[in-house]
Amino acid sequence: MTEQTPLLGGQVVISKPALQQLFDALRTAGYSLIGPTVREDAIVYDEIAQLTDIPIGWADEQAPGTYRLRRRDDQAHFGFVVGPHSWKRYLSPPSLRLFATRRTGDGFSVETSNDPPPRYAFIGVRACDLVAIAVQDRVFVEGPVQEPHYKARRERAFVLAVNCTEPGGTCFCASMRTGPRCSSGFDLALTELDDAFLCEVGSALGAQMLSAVEWRPAGAFELSRARQAMADALTRMGRGLNTHNLPELLYDNLEHPHWANVAERCLSCANCTMVCPTCFCSDVQETSDLVGETAARVRVWDSCFNREFSYVFGGHLRPNTRARYRQWLTHKLASWTDQYGVLGCVGCGRCITWCPVGIDLTQELAAIRGEGQL
């Protein structure tokens, strides 16, 4: 163990096996570790215990509508990008009971949960996803009303970020200016080098956790190698998205014929919205026992691609895929900026990879812009 605590903003080097010491320290501090692991032919986020649970020596190959795992010829610990899951699964779960009611003699009583919220340590958060979390922060905690469940999870979370040195085939964070380098929003951020990690300290909590880990100050050599790796990554993005005047472009093209073109291919299946790390829309459903003695309200993930989402008295506002895809893309890339001051897209590429028919928003947008295929 080292004597001193690394400085906030400082860079240190830790050996690859020493990452286990950080995992142990986090577990000792009461965190559940959530990180990448191989399951169902993909790299998902799940509860992990050991360093060996993460996909060491695995890579993912991504293209519109396809995702394949392959073995790497090295033992890279984070030699892959983002998979079908995002951290919203843990911060804003797919299904959450908001409260329950019980019938009483004079009406009903309301019961809210007193369980302490989970304390998560997120392992391997990429730059795009750090921005995505910041985007959801604007939705759930930085608005006039705070969402208590999200807020509690978020405040208690520890974030171990990882800089992307090998962007994937559907990545376009560089054009969204959200990556590949992690700039803020983490406690610790790793850059994977051949034989060690360069670790940047992003918070006092991060520094404190490092005190249980063997580290040494970073030398000029490691810093320059990490810089070079990031610079290389920038040039290897799978695709790009032209963000110039996006809101105006979309607001001016609400009747563009290309929306009908997308609608011929789009399945309206909601996959893009479910894998998107910023999409936050939800439904609230009522459940009860057979006679209504007890009831509960449950919030579940929902999507603007589902008809019920646009229900108004007497009908549905967006009866077809043309209207739904337009709503989704216009929200992501135009009205989001009016609502939250930032774009709703972070360039993670999930919606491209996980669309069963491989619809690529960067290409659809280029078509709207009149630029044809990028």
Partner: protein, 289 residues
């Protein structure tokens, strides 16, 4: 964005953003076929004490086992203790509410949304245009005007309904008229006993010669009706930022988390339901938006 709108009145009086407070129905007033007004009193006196609302705001009404619905407040903002909602049977929740009687308990959370900018309209002539149940969220404005009549110039209420029996609050029109308010009423379909006007609400504008420099229009009703109210107002040169509409979309959360009530850049539960026409013009006639 236009900043002249009344800001959303956040921090709902009922506390937790998603959890309702039980309230007791103290009175049920049948209004028209399938429409009733419920007077509610919070069971927790502290909640009742703290509860305030502005004209045009709404509450989420909850029935355990059934669900929740957004319902406008239709009573006098100066008397928050007599909280009234005029409910039209349109779905699950309103159907279940219609089966309730005095003494029944309903969950309430709110108030949510922004309000009709009655302060910005001080010194103006007011044209209040309502269709059907749309008069309910405008009635708090009328009560406000009755209490502050000297603050406003000429006040005209144009009110329409499908049938004479569907007209809301007819017993109050004489009181409104006694405060120097012109109340013009029309119906779409009349029987032989009806001696009043027949025709849709926007045609009531034909007789109006508003002074564009000092006129504010508030309208609430079926969306297609509001389209033509806007066109009539614009034809009379009422400025776009002085034509206010109350829009309706489905709401599940009322606190801008569920995403359902988006109308372009706005969340109707937070930035609305009252929006000035200049803010929504680009989207107003886009189909399936």
């Amino acid at each position: 964005m236009n900043s002249t709108l009344a800001k959303g009145h956040w921090s709902p009086a009922t506390g937790h953003p998603m959890v309702p407070q039980p309230a007791v129905i103290t009175h049920v007033q049948p209004e028209a076929h399938g429409v009733m007004t419920y007077t509610l009193g919070f069971r927790d006196p502290a909640v009742g004490e703290a509860y305030r609302f502005h004209p045009g705001q709404f509450n989420m009404l909850y029935l355990p086992g059934i669900g929740e619905a957004a319902i406008s407040i239709s009573s006098d903002p100066a008397e928050p203790a007599a909280l009234r909602h005029t409910v039209r049977i349109a779905g699950n929740v309103t159907q279940a509410i219609s089966r309730m009687e005095a003494g029944g308990v309903i969950g309430v959370r709110g108030p949510y949304g922004n309000s009709w900018p009655v302060d910005r309209a001080v010194g103006n002539d007011l044209i209040i245009v309502a269709g059907g149940i749309g008069l309910a969220p405008l009635r708090p404005v009328i009560y406000h005007v009755l209490r502050h009549r000297a603050d406003y110039g000429k006040v005209t209420i144009l009110n329409g309904a499908r049938l004479p029996a569907d007209l809301l609050y007819p017993q109050e029109y004489d009181d409104w008229r006694s405060h120097d308010i012109e109340v013009v009423v029309t119906v779409d379909r009349a029987d032989e006993t009806w001696k009043g006007r027949v025709g849709v609400v926007p045609i009531l504008f034909y007789a109006l010669r508003p002074d564009p420099k000092r006129t504010t229009v508030f309208t609430c009703g079926p969306e297609i009706m509001m389209h033509f109210v806007v066109y009539e107002a614009l034809a009379r040169r009422v400025p776009k930022d002085r034509i206010y509409l109350s829009l309706e979309r489905n709401m599940k959360c009322a606190v801008a988390f569920c995403g359902r009530c988006q109308y372009g850049p706005t969340f109707l539960c937070k930035d609305g339901p009252v929006l000035s026409y200049d803010r929504i013009e680009p989207f107003f006639t886009v189909e399936e938006f």
